[in-house]
């Protein structure tokens, strides 16, 4: 953890820069328009609504594939963020989107199961992931997504991931 008297702006910029580097280096996250809100180490993924996310224009509803992708992106970013937190806080790594070698290696998805609870409305969506179990090689992550009300999920997912091996 950061020393107690470390200046606040130093702490914030280290964490924000790392998160920005992680997110902005992935073209598909940018293409979908997903952003991340950070409160301490807690991340909330935000998917602003866009015309190109529609799967059913009659309702209209967000495409099931977009929902799956949003949940998977949230899981991968949360898992990576959790895995690099210590190294980031202790200054051992400082990821920079412009320097590909400085970026953390991403976990690989083994399987991903999405539970569609209600149709995705044409509005912004939010998601949070929880690393249920993280071993040296495998991790299990649960993700929840909602729109207007936090307690009314429109989708949830469980995925298994192969962690990046270092060295």
């Amino acid at each position: 953890m950061a020393p107690r008297n470390e200046p606040l702006d130093v702490i914030k910029s280290r964490r924000n820069n790392t998160l920005n580097a992680l997110v902005s280096s992935v073209p598909y996250i940018r293409w979908l328009g997903i952003g991340f809100d950070r409160r301490g180490d807690e991340l909330t993924a935000v998917l602003p609504f866009d015309e190109k996310l529609i799967g059913n224009p009659m309702l209209p509803a967000i495409h099931g594939g977009v929902t799956a992708a949003f949940l998977e992106v949230t899981a991968i970013v949360e898992l990576t963020w959790t895995a690099i937190w210590q190294d980031m806080e202790q200054g051992r790594i400082a990821p920079d989107a412009a320097v590909p070698e400085s970026l953390p290696r991403l976990p690989k998805t083994i399987d991903f199961t999405v539970d569609y609870l209600r149709s995705g409305l044409p509005r912004d969506a939010y998601a949070r992931a929880r690393v249920v179990r993280s071993g040296r090689r495998y991790a299990s992550v649960h993700v929840e997504a909602w729109q207007d009300q936090r307690s009314k999920l429109f989708a949830q997912a469980t995925g298994h991931f192969l962690m990046a091996q270092h060295g």
């Binding site: 598909y28 059913n56 992708a69």
Partner: protein, 147 residues
């Protein structure tokens, strides 16, 4: 989803196939192409694109793109099934990622609706790149049948 009737002459089928993608904004945005649609199932392809990359180190396309492709292809297979669903929505979709898709290669998905009841359709799907002997991913899903 609109109702793409699998009947008709080849020209009409091509038109319906084009329309099927055109009416789904997300499928069009990803650059999907409906290659085959019949009672047997659906085949949809998606060319590799730089902005769909999920791992900047390798250039491998994001798993989410494969999910969107398999979900669309599975939905198309449900719609094309002779049971005659007017619309469908995903209830549950599980995807197994067997290997990374080769960067630069088009991904082709095939989906088959292997069982359908009055309200639920059960689908299996596969995703392949140029090496069809080693699938990139497989999926199994349950879909609603709206009548």
């Amino acid at each position: 989803m609109n109702d793409p009737t699998p009947e008709g002459d080849p020209e009409q089928r091509r038109r319906i196939a084009r329309q099927f993608i055109e009416v789904i904004p997300h499928a069009r945005a990803l650059g999907m192409r409906l290659d085959q649609l019949s009672a047997e199932g659906a085949e949809i392809s998606l060319p590799w694109r730089e902005d769909l990359v999920g791992d900047p180190r390798s250039g491998v396309i994001h798993g989410g793109v494969i999910s969107a492709l398999m979900d669309t292809c599975s939905g198309a297979a449900v719609m094309a099934h002779p049971a005659g669903a007017h619309s469908t929505a995903t209830i549950d979709l599980r995807i197994d990622y067997m290997r990374a898709a080769t960067p630069g290669q088009t991904i082709r998905a095939k989906a088959h609706c292997y069982h359908i009841t009055r309200s639920v359709a059960f689908v299996r799907a596969w995703a392949m790149d140029d090496d069809e002997s080693r699938p990139v991913a497989s999926a199994t899903g349950a879909f609603t049948v709206e009548r």
